[in-house]
């Protein structure tokens, strides 16, 4: 569980522009979200709604599978670019939004051709690149890491507002000029977003963190649990987009309704930025994340029992809301439990996993061809199982935590020393092992000469950097801690 206490308020969400360099991201996010809304709206007039789902399925599957490929390079490439290159973060955002502007312009004349599929999926890939790049960048833009959650929330609100305004504008353009002009408008907003990205001035946190510390933080149980929960939510979002989209289409609903049901999730996301702080007054982050899994599970069960556009609408809103609330909780967990790892490289790894989850959820929906109620029942069961599993783990952890005595501290420190040693940082492992021996002396009966001998060998290990001596320290520490409990 997180170290944060229940009721600890998120830092005040001051003015819209805030006090950090993150404000430069606001116009980029606004233009990006406006473009997103218009791109989604333009698909109403596209080939997606003309051809049969079964005939299009192999092609959609192919492009979804290909969507996975770029993510294979995202984690190792984008993170280091953001971390090391001056202006690299800006380049990632500019390329991803600028690329979408170009693709939207090309797509405007191809809405009724087979080129729709590759171009639309390139736009989707670039959107994912943008999301990964942006979220990896944010930690380097905030003055205080405690503002990470607030900045993310602020960006979500600005993005949702811009999306709603753009969707209204797009509807008018759709009536007057058609879907192709909606895409051209999207290209304009994407272009403005790319230009706005020029203003981003990231300042690095100046952290000189050991990769071992970073890796240890990122592999902690709290981060692992939160990432798994958030990945499940992203998988559910991808699954619902295609499963519900196909189900509504094959039940004869008009294209505008299908797009509306799928697009209204953004409204839920907007609401989530207000609901999350309220929930946080009562529950800590991990519990909020659990609730974020259980809410859409319940609505998916409802939609499975009676599939209708209204229940699909409720499911879409709940997933948007849960995604937003869950995201805030996830950021909170990362912020609390991995304070040294919230840099580009580490964050890009997490973001990549989330986006791969979205793609996998989409692939399952397209590949499995479940009847609508079956797919929704499976979704409800999967999200429910994730949620219940977290509740059980939460209860178990609370029980174990109450049983842990101070006497176990030396053993826990030894485990940490072994883990650090197995990851290659033997010098750090030696120091932790020495701390374990000191702790054993405090809580148990340890002969002074044995402890003195261990410290002496520890000093030799620090000076000589000799692996054999380091191993000696670890072995002696184990023996000493074991003897202290007899």
């Amino acid at each position: 569980m997180t170290a944060s206490g229940v009721g600890r308020p998120y830092p005040a969400d001051r003015s819209l522009l805030g006090d950090s360099a993150a404000w430069t991201l606001l116009p980029v996010q606004a233009f990006h979200s406006a473009g997103e809304a218009l791109f989604a709206l333009s698909l109403v007039g596209s080939l997606f709604f003309n051809v049969s789902v079964d005939a299009a399925r192999p092609r959609i599957l192919l492009y979804l599978a290909l969507t996975m490929a770029p993510f294979a390079v995202l984690a190792p490439l984008i993170g280091p670019v953001i971390d090391r290159l001056r202006g690299g973060h800006r380049a990632v955002l500019m390329v991803s939004i600028g690329g979408r502007a170009v693709m939207a312009l090309l797509l405007a004349s191809q809405l009724k051709s087979l080129l729709l599929y590759p171009q639309a999926f390139v736009i989707v890939v670039l959107a994912k690149v943008y999301t990964v790049g942006r979220n990896a960048l944010i930690p380097s833009l905030v003055d205080d890491r405690n503002h990470l959650v607030v900045v993310n929330s602020r960006l979500a609100r600005v993005g949702a507002t811009a999306g709603v305004v753009a969707a209204g504008l797009g509807l008018a353009v759709l009536q007057v000029g058609g879907a192709d002009w909606v895409l051209r408008l999207a290209a304009l907003f994407y272009g403005l977003g790319a230009v706005s990205a020029l203003a981003i001035r990231g300042h690095h946190l100046g952290l000189n963190v050991s990769p071992i510390v970073e890796a240890t933080e990122m592999h902690g149980p709290g981060i692992h649990s939160a990432t798994t929960g958030m990945t499940a939510l992203r998988m559910a979002t991808g699954f619902v987009l295609f499963h519900v989209g196909f189900a509504l289409k094959t039940s004869g609903e008009p294209a505008w309704l299908v797009a509306g049901v799928l697009g209204i999730g953004a409204l839920g996301g907007f609401g989530g930025t207000f609901v999350a702080p309220w929930l946080h007054r009562w529950w800590e982050e991990q519990r909020v994340l659990t609730a974020s899994l259980l809410l859409p599970a319940g609505l998916a069960a409802l939609a499975a029992l009676r599939f209708h556009s209204s229940t699909a609408l409720a499911l879409s809103i709940s997933l948007g809301l849960a995604g937003s609330v869950g995201r805030r909780a996830f950021d909170g967990v990362v912020q609390t439990e991995a304070p040294h790892a919230t840099r580009g490289r580490a964050y890009a790894g997490l973001e990549t996993r989330l986006e791969v989850g979205w793609v996998l959820g989409s692939i399952i929906a397209v590949l499995a061809r479940f009847p609508s109620w079956v797919g929704l029942a499976i979704l409800a069961a999967a999200l429910g199982a994730f949620g219940v599993n977290r509740v059980v783990a939460d209860l178990t952890a609370a029980q174990v935590s109450s049983e842990v005595e101070v006497a176990t501290l030396p053993f826990r420190l030894l485990e940490t020393a072994d883990a650090v040693a197995s990851r290659g940082d033997r010098q750090q492992a030696v120091l932790v092992a020495l701390a374990a021996a000191e702790a054993a002396a405090m809580v148990g009966d340890v002969p002074c000469d044995r402890l003195g001998r261990l410290k002496q060998v520890g000093r030799q290990a620090a000076i000589s950097n000799d692996r054999a001596v380091e191993d000696d320290v670890l072995r002696l520490a184990h023996e000493l801690v074991a003897e202290s409990t007899r």
């Binding site: 003309n50 051809v51 092609r59 492009y63 770029p70 294979a72 390079v73 087979l114 094959t250 004869g252």
Partner: protein, 171 residues
């Protein structure tokens, strides 16, 4: 590390190559021919339907269901859609419910629309196509068309189609 990144980059380049390579994949002469045959059949079926497809703000919708064992390939569907883009909204469907108000008495087709069934094409010097027209559960008709190719790549219906017993669109 560098070679790993290069290989990953190569994977992405290959993927995008596939993306663009597959974009127009399979648009062969047969695709164009089959789409032309289906278009000619659809035009004739709409004329025979006596349906009241009044021009309004929205284009009338022609729902098309594949009746043959092979289905209608995606490329052919795209060509058919493109051929009617100014007159009709073509929607190829997978399920009967998509086109029909199944909860209403008589299960009529949705307003301002027609449901057409198109079978596989049997082509030699002429083309034979089985087709069906659905307006309601009491108004389903089946036709067997014969078509011949013209010099301009279009196909024309020969004579009157033969009435046959509908099967594919019968609920």
């Amino acid at each position: 590390m560098l070679s790993l990144q290069r290989s990953r980059l190569a994977t992405v380049l290959v993927a995008f190559g596939l993306l663009t390579g597959c974009a127009n994949g399979g648009e062969s002469d047969n695709t164009v021919r089959d789409a032309a045959i289906y278009r000619a059949v659809v035009v004739d079926l709409v004329d025979r339907s006596r349906a009241d497809l009044e021009p309004s703000e929205d284009l009338p919708v022609l729902f098309i269901e594949a009746l043959g064992v092979d289905g209608i390939p995606l490329q052919v569907q795209v060509e058919v859609v493109a051929g009617f883009v100014e007159q009709y909204e073509i929607r190829f469907i997978d399920q009967f419910d998509e086109a029909v108000e199944v909860d209403l008495p008589g299960q009529p087709v949705r307003p301002q629309s027609l449901l057409i069934g198109l079978g596989d094409i049997d082509v030699d010097e002429t083309a034979e196509v089985h087709s069906e027209l659905y307006l309601s559960v009491d108004d389903i008709r089946g036709f067997s068309y014969t078509l011949v190719g013209a010099d301009d790549g279009q196909w024309d219906v020969v004579g009157e189609p033969v009435d046959i017993e509908p099967e594919g669109l019968v609920p």
